[in-house]
Amino acid sequence: MFRSAKVIESIERHGWRQTFFLLSIIAFFLSFTTSLSIGPVNISTLIILKSIGEQMGLKLGTIRTSDYIIITQLREPEILGAAAVGAALGVGGAVIQSIFRNPISEPYITGVSSGATLGAVIAIVFGITFLGIFTLPIFAFMFSILVVSTVYFLSMRKGRTPPVVFLLTGIAISLFATSFVALLLYSKPALENRIFYWILGSLSGISWTEDLLVVPVVVITSIILGSMYKQLNALQMGEVHARSVGVNAERSKIIAIALTTVAVSAAVSISGLIGFVGLIFPHVSRLLYGGSNKYVIPSSAILGATFLILCNDIAHSIIRSEVIPIGIITGLIGVPFFMLLMMKISNRGYYSA
């Protein structure tokens, strides 16, 4: 009797998780499609569905060419970009928090953001353009990787990178890179505006070409990181514990950090700095599903993506025919939402202990 009750209870619990996950996927697709109607030109949902059908090779009726181009060439790549950036930040946050066993860390802490900013600012200030319109994202990406690698090698102690040393080195090197940014800004005050916008983060104007480069990177790294959930869970218990249960702690750590860095750098290179997502959605996911990365990683991806799509909509809607930098919206909308959620369900488990 006792045992069967337990089994039923277990099914109910897992069923609840699955239902919730399914709901968040539906929310993601709903926000994706409805967001296509948001912008300076009003386009009805019917036309959106028709255009999506046409892209998939279905003839569902006539659509105005201008509408079709707005949907497929302007709005779709931007929304897809928003989703990719949100997912990369969400997954990155979950991974970094697990590795550093630190609830207040986020993917930028390893130097990704300051490195990307430095790269972008160098490209802007020195007027480097030899890579065409991709100069800025490529510079941001390369410098981001460079800075994180520097942090990694500087925190190496006898073939290991102790989390505390890594975190402190990350913060110190980030500050160092940021000082260079400040110096460059100081030397060319005329460019402040452009750099300021980059730092605030913006998704407008993301093209299919950028998506083709970034989306596969984010999808592949997220799938690999999601499949490493057992190793990441073990690392969250500490490196000695991870070793004792059979995890190659240092190797898992370097793989996870490298994948996260590539994904987040790629994302940041097309969006600029967008805060909050990487810190908060892993926590939201833990509040919803419990702490195992088996759920936290996929959920952070979906929630991060959905959240950025919605923030992008708001960025488009507040002032007509103008887009507010999305980094402003994520904080203004995200923080009250998160505080509300914390109040609602933080009376149990880890968050109350």
Binding site: E9, S10, R13, Q97, S98, R101, P103, K158, G159, K230, N233, A234, Q236, M237, G238, E239, V240, H241, R243, S244, V245, G246, V247, N248, A249, R286, L287, G290, G291, S292, R348, G349, Y350, Y351, S352, A353
Partner: protein, 263 residues
């Protein structure tokens, strides 16, 4: 056999070794000694987190250095003294982590938890358990790993009297099922009751090791702990106890401080 062969390593400023000791399957070996004598460091060195300066650690004749982490985990599990505070893991999650090399069902997990009397907590958030409950879950996780050898660092810490008795039973079950058990113990009388062999460590070195009857006597204990010891023989066996100062005899603050300065 788990064997430490002339191993030497450094932890902080403490030079440890050369150490020799071995644990066989079906045997309980306890390491005792003062705080900072290198007991925990020895376990961490076996875990591989502290690199050896010389010597080697073998299990069934194979050098741990040549083994993959997975294969080592199938041979040796390690219940640490510190209990981690993972973000939001429930007890099941904690147990599954120890099942990294041996995927098992919820029933298998429940069995290991039930041995330690904590099966009712399987869906509880780990960090909300009491210290003793967390300790029992960590021990259950070490058992669930199903390795041939199991190391436990201060398994009695955080446990109440009832759970310490339970621990003796658990260790007996493990020993009888053929596990080799390596313990770090502060409770010398418990160590004396349950162990086959005892190793006394002092300042990073083995002072004396061997069968418990040969090792445990007042002379050795006094050297290891730098304190006076007494013993009495009860019907349950010999008990050792430190001859501490009489609390009530020390007359006030000055005399107590005087005593501390000279001890």
């Amino acid at each position: 056999m788990l064997e430490l062969d002339e191993i030497q390593f450094k932890r902080g400023n403490l030079q440890i070794g050369p150490l020799n000791l071995s644990v066989s399957t079906g045997e309980i070996l306890s390491i005792c000694g003062k705080n900072g004598s290198g007991k925990t460091s020895t376990l961490i060195a076996i875990n591989g987190y502290i690199p050896l300066l010389s010597g080697k650690i073998t299990v069934d004749g194979r050098d741990l250095k040549s083994m993959k982490p997975r294969d080592i985990a199938r041979k040796i599990s390690y219940v640490q003294q510190e209990i981690p505070e993972p973000m939001g893991f429930n007890v099941m999650d904690v147990m599954e982590i120890s099942g990294f090399t041996r995927p098992g069902s919820r029933e298998d997990v429940l069995e290991a938890l039930a041995l330690c009397g904590v099966e009712k907590f399987i869906d509880r958030d780990f960090v909300t358990l009491s210290g003793g409950e967390k300790r029992m879950v960590s021990i259950a996780a070490g058992i669930y790993q199903n390795s041939e050898y199991i190391m436990m660092d201060e398994p009695t810490s955080f446990l109440d009297l009832d759970k310490i008795n339970k621990l003796s039973g658990i260790l007996k079950v493990l020993k009888s099922s053929g596990k080799g058990i390596l313990l770090v113990m502060h409770d010398i009388n418990l160590a004396y009751r349950i162990s086959d062999s005892i190793v006394l460590m002092k300042e990073g070195k083995v002072l004396v090791g061997g069968t418990k009857e040969n090792v445990m006597n007042i002379k050795n204990l006094e050297i290891v702990y730098d304190a006076k010891f007494g013993q009495y023989n009860s019907p349950e066996g010999t008990r050792f106890y430190p001859l501490d100062i009489d609390f009530n005899r020390l007359n006030g603050f000055e005399e107590a401080r005087e005593y501390l300065q000279h001890s």
